[in-house]
Symmetry: C2
Subunit: 588 residues, 2 copies
């Protein structure tokens, strides 16, 4: 049922890839209901089971079924990079050239005339063929020519039939391929303007929320790589349809795509095998940027245009992270020690000092995205996104969109944990104290869930709605593992470079979770080293910003190469140091 729904465009959350272990793909079966199986009983409330709630991944479609999808919600995806600025100097240029027979009097032909006019020396065969359309008998031909300033190559020639008029603008797309979400930015390359953005969930989710599950799929299924590629391309093409439709732009006027994403996703995009990324020694097929024709993967833009896949660093530091680094100008020396953290399913951590850039990746797991947390959910309307516990015992929370509480998203979890720590409701080891060891005003919030303690965020009868929201002992441990992994990565980078915590000048937080979390609380629970609040800079979707910089300014390409050259990658899974550090950092 889950695959069926996803194939039909319903974006149902599912972190385990349909294995029945995350309990997120809830649907309500109205007619044709069956008894819940073992896993459903474990993951669903009794009241839910009674109401007909089941897991979509567990329902086989054997007969007519009527279902409701009450949890379906359009995710709001962070698309904006904060304070985006870039000079307009794209690698492609569109110019108008008129040619009378008299101009061609050196007898060297049309192409040579274009070469001289544009100071280029190459042309694609597709563009050359356009010269066949020239009407040699006409007094004057007017051409719109698009050429690549770096390769000195003409890539398209359009013969203008009418009298001279300014050429139509041409466009480019910056694309951030995320494991969970994909964001497209459409820029006018004639004036640099951002025309619009479009975001969607990565359709590959049906083969697993994390990249490793998807790689496993390609190992198990001979056609798996092709399947994952086709899913990506077809949803990109649908997005291009959408974004060009909305803004009334022709698809054939899109000539450039700058593509970032994690290394495995870029491999999927190009149909490259990923098995070697998942297994030691974790060697990707490629990390270097290159251009391909849209024909090669069937992307629906002008066939004379091209797609650039940006530079990655390693199998686990992808082009999204080099784009992050570009977005915050990490290639520029500034005598500052800068830490960049991009938290998704993996946490990528980059530390820059004036001599080099060091990077690592830790498998934080999807706790910050709401997975493996009893009432965890993505950052969508209804999620508790911030939380406070005051001295009188009042619990104050905000939900996204001010809607009825449905669960807790990553930034909410962080706030709750920080509050419980501050009020000494949990220990430094992450244990919820016994009632008797807690201040009176908080004691009533302690309850039990499946034999372990839990903290009541909202009781059934409180506030709007009849649902209860708990934060359980198990949830706290999940959060500890996630934050511990990231902090261990940070500490190892600091150790390796000899930089002390108090020497950190800036911490950049990239991505959705990083953008919405409360930095103070992130420091309090030990996710981040304790630094002055103003040193933490939330940079939004910096991977998207980096891709846009690449699209708009050809100099970005060299800058990315420089960044790549200067990054030293540390594979944590092969350092014994990591386990030692992790044992320390899982504590608060």
């Amino acid at each position: 049922m889950l695959v069926f729904l996803k194939d039909n465009g319903y974006q149902i959350p599912s972190y385990c890839g349909g294995k029945g272990s995350c309990g997120k793909c809830k649907i309500k079966v109205i007619s044709g209901i069956k008894e819940p199986d073992k896993q459903e009983k474990l993951l669903l409330d009794k009241t839910e089971i009674k109401k007909g709630v089941r897991l979509a991944c567990k329902q086989k479609i054997e007969d007519d079924l009527i279902i409701d999808i009450p949890y379906l919600e359009q995710m709001s995806i962070l698309t904006e990079g904060n304070n985006f600025k870039e000079n307009l100097n794209p690698v492609l240029k569109k110019v108008q050239i008129s040619a009378s027979p008299g101009d061609l009097n050196n007898y060297r032909g049309y192409l040579n005339y274009f070469y001289e006019k544009l100071s280029v020396n190459d042309i694609t065969f597709k563009a050359l063929k356009k010269l066949n359309k020239i009407n040699s008998k006409k007094e004057k031909n007017i051409f719109n020519v698009i050429y690549d300033q770096q390769k000195n190559r003409i890539i398209d020639i359009c013969c203008v039939q009418h009298k001279k008029q300014p050429p139509r603008p041409f466009f480019g797309l910056a694309v951030d391929l995320g494991t969970t979400t994909i964001v497209l930015y459409l820029h006018n390359l004639t004036n640099g303007e951002l025309i619009g953005t479009f975001s969607l969930q990565n359709p590959q989710e049906k083969y697993g929320a994390d990249v490793i599950s998807r790689i496993k799929h390609t190992i198990e299924q001979p056609a798996g790589t092709k399947e994952l590629q086709e899913l990506l391309i077809s949803s990109l093409n649908q997005s291009i349809d959408e974004i060009t439709g909305v803004h009334n732009i022709k698809k054939k006027d899109i000539y450039m795509v700058s593509m970032v994403g994690n290394t495995a996703l870029l491999h999927f995009l190009l149909g490259m095998e990923t098995e070697s990324i998942a297994n030691s020694p974790y060697i990707p097929k490629f990390t270097d940027s290159f251009k391909i024709s849209p024909d090669i993967i069937g992307l629906d833009i002008n066939k004379s245009g091209f797609i650039t896949v940006l530079d990655s660093i390693s199998g686990y530091i992808g082009a999204d992270i080099t784009a992050d680094m570009l977005a915050v100008n990490m290639d520029q020396k500034n005598n500052k020690n800068e830490l960049l953290i991009d938290i998704g399913t993996n946490g990528e951590i980059v530390l820059k000092n004036d001599s080099q850039i060091t990077a690592c990746s830790t498998a934080a797991g999807p706790a910050f995205e709401g997975a493996n947390i009893l009432y965890g959910m993505a950052g969508i309307p209804g999620a508790i996104s911030s939380f406070m516990l005051d001295d009188t015992g009042k619990r104050i929370y905000k939900t996204i969109g001010g809607q009825k509480v449905k669960g807790i998203c990553g930034s909410g979890l962080l706030d709750i944990t920080a509050s419980l720590l501050e009020k000494k409701i949990i220990t430094k080891q992450g244990k919820i104290r016994e009632k008797k060891d807690i201040s009176d005003q908080y004691q009533e919030y302690i309850t039990e869930h499946k034999g372990h303690r839990a903290f009541i965020i909202k009781a059934e009868k409180e506030g709007t709605g009849n649902n209860k929201i708990l934060y359980t002992q198990k949830d706290i441990h999940e959060l500890q593992l996630a934050k511990g992994a990231i902090r261990a990565g940070i500490n190892i980078l600091l150790n390796k470079t000899g930089i002390k915590k108090n020497e950190i000048d800036r911490i950049y937080l990239a991505g959705g979770f990083g953008n919405y979390l409360n930095p103070k609380n992130a420091c309090k629970i030990g996710l981040l080293p304790e630094v002055q609040e103003n040193k933490v800079i939330q940079i939004g979707n910096a991977a998207g910003s980096g891709a846009r910089k690449h699209l708009l300014n050809q100099k970005s390409q060299k800058r990315l190469k420089n960044i790549k050259k200067n990054v030293k990658y540390i594979e944590l899974s092969t350092t014994t140091e990591f386990q030692n550090e992790f044992m320390k950092t899982i504590q608060f």
Copy 2:
């Protein structure tokens, strides 16, 4: 019938493209014969008509026919450039690289490892896909990598399954696309060796012996350009089959093709329209060199390889002539005034002094190739290729291959004309004198043909065979037009550059006719300016030599660009000077 025969691989001479005007496509009809038509009566002897000889282009296949093709003969095509030498430094290099997991320990992946090993920074998508075949679990992988040293790009990767062994050699083809003949040179690019050559008649001949007839075909027939392209490609592919078969080489080991030819032929090869070359102001679509993938035109070499079409100058000075110039090092300053003449259907003339190179093209017509000459024929066995008339009146001639006389080829015509001039049998105006005005010993050779005088080269009863060979008044005029056009071109270049005849240091003669003619006689009849005999250098198929230089040494590319830059092209059809000069030079 002519088209039918050509389609079936019979290489029948036909200069007019089947229009019934050249009289060269003779066949013998054995059964099913019809009365000759008007044109056949005009072009064929009475004895021929009686024997059943007809023109193939005039025979419609309406019923069973039995024919004989007595004139069919494999042409011997000049393939050798004289004194060919070139350093081996091809743009492609093939190397072997081994990679153990330990070598890849920087986690940047296989591609990055290759980039570092080879100092390159690009790869084709086709080659990238080959990385999918890497067995990451193997202790050591061994790869044969082919890369482009100019573009710094890997173009092919082969995973060697067995243990280390030297890579197989790889190969390249130099191709000279002539209007009449095509020559292929197969080189081993690992050691530079010339493996073999292969030559064939240009199958486009069925649409006309000259380029203009073929262009007319493309103007009249919507699919004409495609037809001409396909003819060329399919016969190139057959030739590749042949030459690789003979030398036991795999087609997929051919990675490079360097292609020269006149500008229109190069347009046909790529499917580009040629109408604008034929009509004023004679603007070709392109004259600049560029590379294409063999897939694009369907050439049967390794799909990862490429074809380079070399630089031309104008619509009438093609890449064959720039290749000629490369072959004689015209880009190198040597304080010499050098004239280069490549005589085919067109005569291309190049004059180099120390400041620049000037070039023009004259429509000499196909007289030197035997067309429009009563007993003219190509330079094949049986053709009179040299001739002398001694003071006693003895006529001494040599035929190619020492075979029975069949006709006269270009160099024979030249010798005959020079002899007749020397013995005052013809006047400076080209008129055959009356018997009474000629020395006694030659008077018996004067006869009449269709009301005009003619010179008997061989009477029916003389020598071997019962055929007679005449040199007619009309033939002499044809020759005058041809030599006059070329000489006028030479004179105009001399005038434009202010170089005097006696300041010419060298005359290079390129091509088959130029290679076999007697330079002394060429000066005597005024085809060439009178210079010392040792200043005339016959360079053979220099266009082929230039293409081979391009194939073997990447530096040639820049040299060709330099040549192109320095050539000043003069379009003779638009200079009034040409007509004036021509009026003078048609005289002897």
